[in-house]
């Protein structure tokens, strides 16, 4: 990990128009609302939150699947939020994505060899077919599969093996940055550790930076150097993973941490969990106030009227009025 910022996100907003018909009242889902953070070269930035908090939308905005409404994304010194055409294609080589569902992220009608070779075809990376084939075999071996697997189709593999094929495909482009969109949540426990170790090994060897999106806090803590906690499209807390874990500030982070099941019966059975009361508000046309105020036990009138901004609290950044 170095001090060089490779990705800088400033006031990013991604909205979706979910208005059902032409004549209905406009309905906007603010999937990502005013999020800012930096990722340093060679580090893993973990992004956690529950389903619907906008963490996947944020990841997809960064790799330009979705267009941001507002805000600036600076990658390796250049603004990428407005890229088009050839420049966009060049950027795609630098930043890649690993998807959540290993059953849906590989084209079922292509062999493993064709899948891994596709990025090389798209970007004309190697001169001859032989070179491409050698590279495919090398990548397949890197992710721990056998070279004779390249003739097979994705449906013949297990979930963990497919996820490794997906990783091989992203590595074909030699990216500097990979967005990992819940890469382990669909996998079994014993396989999750395989993928985590593989990702860590690749990071050590190639110095790639990761944005690691997950809802499983314990795995995120393990792999990440720094963690951002998201809730309803906002980032509510951000800091080093030890700091966020050992010394959480935001009431939501506290509740989230106390809810993680701990695989140790003596600890788990004695622990008291913070139980959140109240309903999760609808993400459509949300009011301007603290998004967590409906479930927060410390909520005051100010929380229901004003939006808290990110402030430095001890070693973390927290968006909560409790710390003002």
């Amino acid at each position: 990990m170095s001090d060089k910022v490779i990705l800088s996100v400033e006031h990013l907003k991604t909205y979706f128009d979910v208005t059902p018909g032409m004549f209905s009242k406009k309905k906007i889902v603010k999937a990502v609302d005013d999020v800012s953070f930096d990722v340093y070269e060679g580090e893993t930035f973990g992004l956690v939150g529950e389903s619907g908090c906008g963490k996947s939308s944020l990841g997809r905005t960064l790799v330009k699947i979705y267009e941001p409404v507002e805000g600036k994304i600076t990658f390796d010194g250049s603004d990428i939020s407005k890229l088009k055409g050839k420049e966009l294609a060049g950027f795609r080589k630098e930043m890649q994505m690993i998807f959540q569902d290993p059953y849906a992220s590989l084209d079922p009608r292509m062999t493993v060899g064709e899948i891994v070779k596709e990025p090389m075809d798209i970007h004309n990376l190697y001169a001859t077919e032989e070179e491409k084939r050698d590279k495919v075999v090398e990548l397949i071996k890197t992710v721990g599969l056998k070279p004779d697997h390249i003739r097979r189709y994705p449906h013949e593999f297990s979930g963990g093996q497919r996820q490794r094929i997906g990783i091989a495909r992203t590595l074909a482009l030699n990216p500097k940055f990979i967005v990992c969109d819940e890469p382990i949540s669909a996998l079994d426990v014993s396989i999750q550790a395989q993928i985590i170790n593989l990702l860590e090994k690749i990071q050590r060897e190639r110095g790639i930076s990761y944005l690691f999106i997950a809802h499983d806090l314990s795995m995120v803590k393990h792999i990440s150097d720094r963690i951002g906690v998201m809730y309803m499209g906002h980032m509510v807390e951000c800091g080093s993973s030890d700091e966020v874990y050992r010394n959480p500030h935001h009431p939501y982070t506290k509740a989230l941490l106390s809810a993680i099941p701990i695989p140790d019966p003596d600890v788990a059975k004695k622990r008291t969990r913070i139980m959140l009361q109240g309903e999760i508000p609808s993400p459509i046309n949300p009011p301007v106030c603290c998004p967590f105020c409906t479930r927060c036990q410390y909520a005051t009138d100010r929380c229901r009227k004003e939006m808290p901004q990110m402030k430095q609290v001890e070693n973390s950044q927290v968006a909560c009025f409790l710390y003002e």
Partner: protein, 334 residues
């Protein structure tokens, strides 16, 4: 302790286009009154199929080949009935009344076009001799029990008007409707967020304290098992490879798979330790290995493991595992 459910030598097979899949192989365990038994395993380990087999809910291509299921001493195994019709008639009375079920995805269990009221009142009227108005009162009481605010108005609503966590509460209310002695929960919190999962787990423990229930909880999450279960069975490749009390499994695991599984999970309380994944992928039950199903991924594998199924070794009254390594120790070939 009183046994409420006894399962012995259960075998279940599926007929597929590629051949016969032996999904459950010689599974035996007991459920005692008032306990939570956790069944842990990866996908395809046969944990859900075991439950579907004993509930008579297998899909058309699945079949219980042999084995016995006894509920409070009464034989409810498929193999002791002449035909499917008799078995189904008997099981229809058992399901919901004696054994309640909680499923992973509440949306597939709840009927989207029926009001919550109908779905709660129906089993009450069918299984007990309650009148409709009595059943309605009981339904509101149940919704209160599972923590649904203003049940009098919400009972008139449809499933889609509830959030995921609330839906799972309704499913639990339906499972509890007839006061069953046994609840089978198949991954009850997998589809939910962690904060909601904590609420549901809390609810299940509260209900356990109130009633004299026994629960079988199927899950892949070792954290959930650690915080909820009294006893734990570990399944792999269609077999129970280790069974024991929570402390025996977590602090004194005997089977290499259990040990490996515990090394794969991170305990966020502790400092970072390198994860030690189990290499390889689970066996294909279409062509299960002759010997131990774990042989191809096991770090302690021996030649015998490949050809012969290991015998079960008892370590205490509650703790047993099947692995050749324990036989090896005894024979002294170290």
């Amino acid at each position: 302790m009183e046994k409420v459910l006894e399962i012995s030598h259960l075998n279940t097979e599926f007929t597929t286009e590629q051949g016969i899949v032996k999904a459950v192989r010689d599974v035996s365990f007991d459920l005692y009154k008032g306990e939570i038994l956790g069944i842990v395993g990866e996908s395809g380990s046969g944990k859900s199929v075991t439950m579907y087999s004993l509930m008579g809910l297998l899909p058309a291509n699945g079949k219980v080949v042999s084995g016995q299921v006894k509920m409070n001493g009464k034989d409810i195994s498929r193999t002791s009935f002449e035909n499917d019709k008799q078995y189904d008639e008997m099981m229809t009375k058992v399901r919901g009344k004696d054994i309640g079920m909680i499923f992973q995805d509440p949306m597939t269990f709840l009927n989207p076009v029926l009001r919550i009221e109908t779905q709660l009142v129906e089993p009450l009227v069918n299984h007990t001799n309650m009148s409709r108005s009595e059943a309605h009162a009981r339904a509101i009481e149940l919704l209160k029990l599972v923590g649904i605010p203003s049940p009098e108005t919400r009972i008139r609503q449809y499933p889609h008007q509830f959030s995921g966590g609330m839906r799972q509460r309704i499913v639990i209310a339906i499972a509890l409707a007839c006061n069953p002695g046994i609840i089978i929960a198949d991954e009850p919190t997998t589809a939910l967020d962690v904060t909601i999962q904590a609420q549901i787990l809390e609810l299940i423990s509260e209900l356990m304290d109130k009633g004299n229930m026994s629960v079988i909880m199927i899950t892949h999450d070792l954290g959930v098992v650690a915080s909820m279960c009294d006893r734990i069975a570990i399944m792999y490749g269609g077999k129970i490879v280790e069974i024991g009390s929570d402390r025996e499994i977590f602090y004194d695991a005997k089977h290499p798979y259990t040990k490996g599984l515990l090394r794969c999970v991170t305990d966020p309380e502790k400092d970072d330790v390198e994860l030690e994944p189990i290499p390889g992928t689970p066996p294909d039950l279409l062509h299960p290995p002759l010997g131990c199903p774990f042989v191809d991924r096991c770090s302690e594998a021996m030649k015998i493991c490949k050809v012969k199924m290991p015998p079960t070794e008892k370590f205490s009254d509650t703790h047993s595992a099947c692995c050749w390594c324990h036989q090896k120790e005894k024979l002294g070939h170290v």
